[in-house]
């Protein structure tokens, strides 16, 4: 294994995100507390694409919020390269489901935002931003206002914005949840390509089984009340896509379909258990 902080061949830094015994207990207004996460343990490395899959209420968004630093856990620790996570930071980029872009800025100004806040010079941040927009195939729309581009383009702009800070971890909170099926499939392909090119660590939330299987190298299936990681799988459908560049073929393969049925039944059983 390669040591922490040591550069990889392409000049990337190998990072490790470690989540230990993480629990989150929400204080309810009626005195009834909700255990949103119970004793979650997870280790992610650079190059891992971890997908958290589960029905609503399983704590996957809470888990992402803790990693992003938007909330503090009740118990347990999160460390990135040995340093504990306290509050949000530019080394952990976040892509939201919606309402996160700034409509008073153009597409490229949105992507530049974080760099501007950290005092990067105008010329430098502009060239970085255009570079990231190229990665998400949005360079033609760089100077469009946010409200004039489609929902799919807005999500791609959100991805470019998170990439602009060159974070160690990309945190994606159901980024494709509000898109139509065709746009969604297209951006899934794009995200796999991005992951492959940037070799970053991705943590991606979804409730779509197909999406989870297609993207993940490491799939965690979460179940509610209390939210916890119930199953873990190592997958390589994204590698298959990188080789053949045909996502429909990957998703139509017998292994993919049998895996999908397996995960669906796991989630279904988990839910029946929870409701019983």
């Amino acid at each position: 294994m390669i040591g922490r902080g040591k550069p990889l061949l392409q000049g990337h830094i190998l990072s490790t995100l470690e989540i230990k015994n993480l629990s989150v207990n929400y204080a309810g207004s009626n005195g009834q507390n909700t255990l949103a996460l119970s004793n979650v343990n997870l280790i992610m490395n650079t190059g891992d694409f971890v997908v958290a899959l589960g029905a609503s209420g399983c704590g996957k968004t809470t888990l992402l919020s803790c990693i992003a630093g938007f909330m503090q856990p009740s118990e347990g620790t999160i460390t990135l390269d040995g340093k504990p996570v306290h509050g949000p930071g530019a080394e952990r980029g976040v892509v939201f489901q919606k309402h996160a872009l700034m409509p008073w800025l153009s597409v490229v100004e949105n992507v530049e935002f974080g760099l501007k806040m950290r005092g990067v010079s105008k010329a430098e941040r502009h060239s970085i931003a255009l570079d990231k927009l190229k990665l998400v195939e949005l360079e033609k729309y760089a100077h469009y206002p946010i409200y004039q581009i489609s929902g799919g383009m807005q999500q791609r702009a959100g991805v470019a914005r998170a990439l602009a800070s060159d974070p160690a971890v990309m945190l994606m909170d159901e980024p494709l949840g509000a898109l139509d099926a065709l746009t969604r499939a297209h951006i899934q392909d794009l995200i796999v390509e991005l992951w492959w090119q940037t070799k970053k660590m991705f943590f991606f939330i979804t409730h779509s089984v197909e999406e989870a299987l297609f993207l993940a190298t490491d799939l965690i299936v979460m179940t509610p009340s209390p939210g916890r990681i119930e199953h873990r799988f190592k997958l390589d459908f994204s590698h298959q896509f990188i080789e053949c560049k045909d996502s429909r073929k990957v998703k139509a393969s017998p292994e993919f379909i049998s895996m999908r049925e397996k995960v669906l039944s796991l989630i279904h059983d988990g839910q029946a258990e929870g409701e019983a």
Binding site: G69, V94, K98, M102, P103, W104
Partner: protein, 272 residues
Amino acid sequence: MANKSEVKTVKGYSIPGEGSSVLISAITVVALFVLWWAATHLGWIKDLFLPTPERIYNAFISAMKGDIQGGKALPEHLTWSLIRVFSAFFLAVLTAVPVGILMGVSRTMRGIFDPPIEFYRPLPPLAYLPLIVIWFGIDETAKIILIYLACFAPLAMAARAGVKSVTIEQINAAYSMGASKAQVVWHVIVPAALPEILTGMRIAIGFGWTTLVAAEMVAATEGLGQMVLNASNFLRTDIVIMGIIVIGVVAYLFDLLMRKVESMLVPWKGRA
């Protein structure tokens, strides 16, 4: 196959009250004018109560030359009124918007500013004008303070409410891109609040204008309000009506100006 132009066009979905009402409004204005003309020329109303449109026009011409009681020309009255309302309005924007934003983002600031603003906000400015006169005299300071107070409350309220237009995702996104708390306020919350601040400015300038004319009627030697009041003392109904029309037209121009500013500064309003 049928020619495209032969196919009947149909309307899409519509909501009640949709479509332009400009033509109907134009007809209303013309009809009121004709009624006015008929009422004065056919002798339905005495000249003292409602002069003919021509006499109003003549009053306007002589007022432009300064040929009215007091001897000051209409542009001079108008200039004084505009100086008062705009100086007070700009002072109010410079102070009320930061106060409103601070009230939106800080519990302490909200606690401090909420009681005084909520107390004086519903008071009619003319109710505290006597107190302002006792404190500051009857010169310009008193008028500007009165208009300032009239503009301050709606501006502060609008800025405070505007803070709520920011989404938690926008704030979290800014933090996770390395922004500091001050940067979040300045680069995320203030722009997000801008549409509401501009609406507040539209309301405030309207308040300022109504308060100004009232203040000038109480104590002034020049200004549109004073011109109208002075004319009424001499039973010059033509000048009174002319003055009212000028006041109304200026107020309408303010609103057009603010709408223009709005479409320039916040083109995203209602679209994101």
